[in-house]
Symmetry: C2
Subunit: 405 residues, 2 copies
């Protein structure tokens, strides 16, 4: 049995008309001889409505009840998709997390999948049914409903594909694949035919919204090929898969940017052991994620320390930093929202020299100053002034020959 | 542990404000030293919305998926009520049918409860939590979601009260109890302090919408006292309970009416064995419920046959009757929508003579013609012209001394 998992997000099931289209797409795939498992998100807007209801009750809703509430969106969607298939002459059955035991840990609203009982789904597929599974939800050992966090339906889909040994997990979305850069600001950008798990992981953590990070981790672990494609046509998208030799030939696969970070600086702190801990412990305790960090020591035994956080956390981080500044007798504290992070990603970097140098010189030629740098084996990121974002993306795209294909 | 089950219908949880009121009411009951189980319906209007979505997909939705869809309304409601209790400083936990195994048969949309595992709820109550259970839903042996039919939350509540050995099942509704007659047309009507299960069963099947028939059957079987009361005040309502001697002292407990039936007549059919079967078999096959039947034989070996059905079924029944008329060579077929059924109910009838005679003479004194009659041990019903409905209710209410209290 060749099993295909097809995941449809909220916009793909945003109306009854669209639900009918999804039903037809699933039936076409089945008609091609595949055993089909659908994973469906809540109808567009539905989850936000439910979240708002919860917040009308209280600002801090009980987390167990919150998950029980928001998971109803997916339950309604799978029932409607199954109805649509059945009404079109097909055969379908919806499944909720408890019915196929999508077991998770107990971390409400950010649960992680532990296991899935594939047997019941396999029986259903063997009977010729399309199995329509509620995304985003799980159950813990005690049978409580959990949810996987926003974007969690991608994770549901990939985990199901792994559990069922599916030949591919297709993620239908409103973009038609993964691009070498954002086509809106870089007209030379083109769609990638394939990309490695590691590159996709880097891109997901750099803020690319195509796939949920956790779903790529699972895909990598279980070697599930993930096909990112559009729900609006039959066109092929981008395959996220195991690295191959061809991928390594290219130094850089894509250029990314992120304008949603802010840079905070605390200047004139004593350059002695323990100071960084004093600064970052309270930040961590406030559940604020720090991305890049840079420290400039000066000759007078004092240092300036800068770091980036999500702009949504900047206000709170600044407040914490001001308190620390008083304790440490620091000279000043400041925040800069007008920054952008520009990155290049590519597995080919591992075996090529001079990539960072080329990155820096390309920006320098345009007079773009680099404020912070962060690298991994397959990624280089720089923080620059926000106004240069588009220019930086375009010149990097050109410099690393991404425009030529 | 004194357990109280409190059931709230859709209008009682129709807004976040009302949900908060329900939460407070449950907490007050708990503060009185009771272990509290809440049974909650979907927010007013929600179920209709879901049904409409299903019908936008197809006119004949798959029944399994239909139940999976409509049951989301109750799931959202119990989560919100639990959140509200927790946010007000109380302790609550929501439960869905699968979590406490409200086992039903497999009849989607009209499932009957087979059993409930009370253990998990008992544990929760012992921990001091208010258990908030989704009404209307069950699961079959295979774990599929079923629903109990409209009004099924009453049945959920009474079945839970039976399974938990609750001292009372309180049904909160938008009326403040069961009345001797509809106060809107009979100003002398008053609220009953108590009523027997059998009387309530008769009244439910006569169309009184206070309680779901099945819930009264279960209450009677397991002797669960059911308290019908308003959610808008602390006022006592009507207790539905085991018959006692005091109840028997009154000949009649209440007067009811129903204007939602139609009378069909097929005239001039041969008065020979087997004719009635030829008429009612196809009606039954069309799932049309026949209420009263009357046959007038004439001297020429022909008979006229009349029966009543719900007005919503009248059109279809007429069509079937017309086909039969052709086969039987009947003289004519007609339908009359301008009828009403007026009934008196009371356990005291069993031990009192002349009740029917008094009923008939009371109507006769007002010039009201009786078209059909049906009786049980504790009920007399007559079909009359619809225009006399209010008058008939008032004179019967007066004649049987219901106005005097």
């Amino acid at each position: 049995m060749d099993i295909v998992v097809q995941k449809f997000g909220g916009t793909s099931v945003g109306s009854i008309e669209k639900i009918r289209n999804v039903a037809q797409r699933l039936m076409r795939t089945q008609a091609q001889g595949k055993a089909v498992v659908a994973v469906v998100s809540a109808m567009a807007g539905k989850t936000d409505q439910l979240i708002q209801l919860a917040h009308e009750v209280t600002e801090t809703p009980d987390r167990r009840e919150y998950d029980a509430l928001v998971s109803t969106g997916e339950q309604a969607a799978v029932a409607l998709v199954s109805m649509a298939i059945n009404s079109l002459g097909g055969k379908a059955r919806s499944f909720l997390a408890y019915q196929i035991k999508i077991l998770t840990d107990e971390a409400y609203s950010k649960a992680r999948i532990v296991s899935i009982e594939a047997g019941k789904l396999m029986d259903e597929l063997e009977k010729g049914s399309i199995a329509v599974v509620a995304g985003f939800q799980g159950v813990d050992e005690a049978g409580n409903i959990t949810t996987l966090g926003r974007g969690g339906s991608d994770t549901s889909a990939v985990a199901l594909a792994a559990a069922l040994g599916a030949e591919v997990c297709e993620i239908f979305t409103d973009v038609d694949g993964v691009y070498t850069a954002d086509p809106n600001i870089c007209p030379a950008a083109h769609k990638l035919e394939k990309i490695s798990y590691d590159e996709m992981l880097e891109m997901a953590s750099l803020g690319a919204k195509v796939l949920h990070t956790r779903s790529v981790e699972i895909a990598k672990k279980y070697r599930v090929p993930v096909h990112v494609r559009t729900s609006f046509s039959e066109e092929e998208g981008t395959m996220v898969k195991l690295e191959d030799e061809e991928m390594e030939k290219y130094i850089v696969t894509a250029v990314n940017y992120n304008r949603n970070e802010a840079k905070l600086t605390i200047a004139g702190v004593p350059d002695v052991p323990g100071v960084a801990a004093k600064i970052f412990e309270p930040i961590a305790e406030a559940n604020i994620n720090v991305d890049m960090i840079i420290q400039n020591a000066s000759s007078d035994g004092m240092a300036d320390l800068s770091f980036t956080v999500a702009q949504t956390d900047a206000k709170q981080a600044l407040k914490i930093l001001q308190e620390i500044a008083t304790t440490l007798n620091a000279a000043s504290v400041s925040v800069d929202n007008d920054i952008a992070k520009v990155s290049i990603v590519g597995v080919g970097m591992r075996s090529h020299y001079g990539v960072a140098a080329k990155f820096f010189s390309t920006l320098a030629q345009e007079g773009i100053n680099i404020m912070m740098i962060s690298t991994s084996e397959i990624k280089i990121s720089c923080v620059i002034q926000e106004k240069y974002t588009e220019l930086a993306v375009r010149v990097l795209h050109e410099a690393f020959n991404l425009s030529s294909e």
